[in-house]
Amino acid sequence: MQAPTPGSVDSVTEQTFDERVLQAKRPVLIQFWATWCHPCRMVSPIVEQLAAERSGDLDVVKVDLDEEPELAARHGITAVPAFVVYAEGRPAGSWVGAAPKHILEQKLAAYLGSSAAGRG
């Protein structure tokens, strides 16, 4: 079992989804993306930055829509970039679209409660 590197954004697959998301001890932010998607490329550095800053209390992973169509379908993903937040093995919220970092943080805070929201 490989342990997630703190602050990194690893790809999860159908095989690793249970371990990395459902059984995670901490909240998980999943970014659904696609190689061809420009807004995804724009938002990826922001997500990576967020992952590094929140490495103490949040796991961040990504799912390639074209590689993992089943995972995407199960989450009702019809557009990318899409974000799904898991807390205690259950989806706590989701949203679609590229957005600046502070919006991403606001969304996270809204779904995870203010205790989990990074403060600067």
Binding site: W36, H38, C40, T78, A79, P81, A98
Partner: protein, 326 residues
């Protein structure tokens, strides 16, 4: 007076040697070529003038043409050109600038052909919406005609781009080929009834303005919106504005109907004596096979019309000869 050669008396092929064509066909697409084929086989003196810009050139295959399903459009035209040549029909590369009554077919660059009858089969031009990526992928995975190309993208995630009111019917129709059809209203104002009908048919809406089509690895990957979302799609359908190449017809005085298209009867005869039209120039809905049929129908009528004139001349000549020998 009709000039008759020794072996071709009584009006038959009477115009062969005076440089006058029985019919000049403008446009060597399916309609023009099929008309020329019949007229050539009817031993008429025919010239076909073609500028070499077929509407369906971007498509790799044409479909729904009995015995020719899946044939590249360029191959159909090649076969057609060889067939008409074998009957002595002249194919002239070039563009017709104007046709004057008489008929004088004036080509760009100077040549003028004289013709007894005219068949205009110049087709139409698809005016595409100004969305980046549409022109680039047109005929490949940005498509227009479900009957022509939907089968090849059946069961795939499809998009319908709301750039023209015709997109609504196109979307309703497309559900026959895929259960994953997304309608992008884009700049189109859908009525409540449109929405209800589309929803009832199982289509999904993605609101927002389209920024561009995402193309990667020589294929369409998705539709990107201005609000930062990208929706994965394998093919997109658009409804272009069909603009007929009918300037030659309107210059001759052919009337247009309320729909903006030149009016013809069932044989392609326009309101102007001696002028026929066939194919997409008068019917945007005609597929390749229908256009070919229209050309064939027009050829019959053109030949019948020429025959009537030939017989009248022959009778006149016959009476004159009889009177002179009395």
């Amino acid at each position: 007076m009709i000039k008759a050669t020794n072996d071709e008396k009584n009006g038959v092929r009477s115009a062969v040697d005076d440089g006058v064509y029985d019919v000049v066909v403008v446009g060597a697409g399916a309609a023009g070529l099929n008309a020329a084929l019949l007229l050539g086989r009817a031993r008429r003196k025919v010239a076909v003038i073609d500028a070499g810009e077929p509407r369906n050139a971007p498509a790799a295959q044409m479909h729904g043409f009995l015995s020719r399903d899946g044939l590249p459009p360029s191959v159909l035209l090649e076969l057609g050109r060889a067939e008409i040549a074998s009957y002595g029909v002249q194919l002239i590369r070039g563009r017709v600038e104007q046709i004057d009554h008489g008929f004088y077919v004036r080509m760009v660059g100077g040549p003028v052909l004289k013709a007894r009858r005219i068949l205009v089969a110049t087709g139409l031009r698809d005016e595409l919406p100004d969305i980046p990526g549409v022109r680039e992928r047109w005929g490949k995975d940005v498509l227009h005609c479900p009957y022509c190309h939907a089968y090849e993208v059946r069961d795939q995630p499809l998009a319908v781009l709301g750039t023209h009111p015709g997109a609504v019917h196109q979307a309703l129709l497309l559900r026959q080929w895929s259960d994953d059809v997304v309608f992008f209203p884009h700049t189109l104002d859908l009525t409540a009834q449109d929405r209800e009908r589309l929803e009832a048919r199982g289509l999904r809406f993605v609101e927002g303005e389209i920024e561009h089509l995402v193309v990667d690895g020589d294929r369409l990957r998705g539709i990107e919106l201005t609000d930062g979302r990208a929706v994965p799609r394998a093919a997109a359908f658009v409804f272009p504005r069909a603009v007929p190449h009918d300037e030659l017809l309107t210059h001759l005085g052919c009337a247009k109907g309320d729909n903006g298209w030149v009016v013809t009867d069932r044989t392609g005869r326009t309101g102007v004596s001696g002028v026929w039209a066939a194919g997409n120039v008068v019917d945007p809905r005609a597929q390749v096979v229908a256009a070919a049929g229209m050309g064939s129908t027009a050829a019959f009528a053109l030949n019948a019309d020429l025959l009537e004139e030939d017989v009248e001349s022959a009778v006149e000549q016959h009476r004159a000869t009889a009177a002179a020998t009395r």
